[in-house]
Symmetry: C2
Subunit: 235 residues, 2 copies
């Protein structure tokens, strides 16, 4: 899939209320953490990608397996090549990582919602840290790209996905912001991704995040038999 | 610049005639070679990118320097990150590389043209191999991207550029084909790039090369102050 899945558009779901520092937070707390994915997360990543294909009605294009993901991801240090942030959620504080990456300090944030979040697939997306259990709610996959005009790298966001029961709550924004913040930290010049032209809610959301939509560029793709034809090409 | 410069479209310039094996080639021979760029090529690369910015009337967006290119390119082995192929030309056979890369065997091809090619900027783009002199005629910059649906990498072509006096002769096709062939060799699933929607000649050319143009996707770009705003974001 060549595209960031549409993030949760502004919806009629109430926006999360951040607890003001001086007042007592009201509602159901949701503790969240963005951390780097590891090879152990491949089963979750595979399921998330499949859900994204279902959401986009593109399962006929889905051929990734846990094995193909394992053999192509995590081959380089974080941020140097394909990199995945996972969003973890819990109703209680999330314990620190036992083996934190020196490349990235996890982003933590606590939300308070009027209603408790109900996750019908909680078991399938649970990670256990000792006796603590958190759920994987979404992911973002990105990798460096390069602007020759700027003479510097950027990040391209291939996929941004939040599971259905967690949409419309600011988690997509949190994941994309984490990528943007990392780009700034590394002195990179751009963050880019793509969106479907009819997805006006997603476009509005991205524009609110500060992105420009480039109207004139079209993606060209060489794949399948048309690509294989170059195997023996006398270029 | 986020885009492959339009390649030489089919034009009224005569197509190069490849010498059939059994007949004597007629015309002016042009020996060509595609090789990996090295840090020593940065001055050429910088000039080529600047020419591309001029061609696209986008010099106001051009801020790359030799220094910014040197500090961001050639940090990883070929094909693992940002990779540049250069196209060299000579009217006599091109001597072998003294230090060929184990990652890539240069592509060599001889063309015969009715008219000798006249290069008004020959001196600025000359490389000397001992007493032999070749000129840099163009380049392609590409890097790995990733398809989560395929569960495998591909290549994204950021720039494809052939200097003006060498356009319409099949050199753009040669550079792009070399990237496609390398993708197949590495078992990659796709080669992608972008084109301006009004550039019908380029679109026709790319379609002839087997590419699909994806009509619905739009590029989103977060850059400049809008990106910097995420530096201290409480994501």
């Amino acid at each position: 899939m060549a595209a960031a899945a549409p993030p949760p558009p502004p919806s009629d779901v109430p926006e999360p209320r951040m607890a003001p520092p001086e007042t007592t937070p009201i509602g159901h707390p949701v503790f969240t953490r963005i951390r780097l994915a590891t090879p152990l997360d491949v089963p979750f990543i595979h399921k998330l990608i499949h859900q994204m294909a279902v959401f986009e009605k593109l399962t006929h294009l889905f051929s990734a397996t846990e094995s193909s993901l394992s053999s192509t991801l995590f081959l380089s240090p974080p941020f140097q090549s394909f990199t995945i942030f996972l969003l973890e959620l819990s109703s209680s504080p999330i314990p620190p990582l036992l083996s934190p990456s020196p490349s990235f300090t996890p982003v933590e944030k606590t939300f308070y919602f009027d209603l408790a979040l109900n996750d019908p697939e909680k078991d399938a997306f649970s990670v256990h840290y000792g006796s603590d259990q958190v759920v994987i709610a979404g992911f973002v996959l990105f990798f460096p790209n390069y602007s020759t005009f700027l003479g510097k790298p950027g990040f391209y966001v291939e996929d941004l996905f939040v599971r259905e029961c967690y949409r419309g709550k600011g988690f997509g924004r949190m994941l994309l912001s984490a990528v943007a913040k990392q780009a700034v930290k590394m002195g990179y010049g751009r963050v880019e991704w793509v969106v479907l032209d009819w997805n006006v809610n997603a476009i509005k959301f991205y524009e609110q995040m500060g992105a420009q939509i480039l109207p004139e560029w079209r993606i060209c793709r060489l794949t399948g038999d048309s690509l294989q034809a170059y195997q023996n090409a006398n270029v």
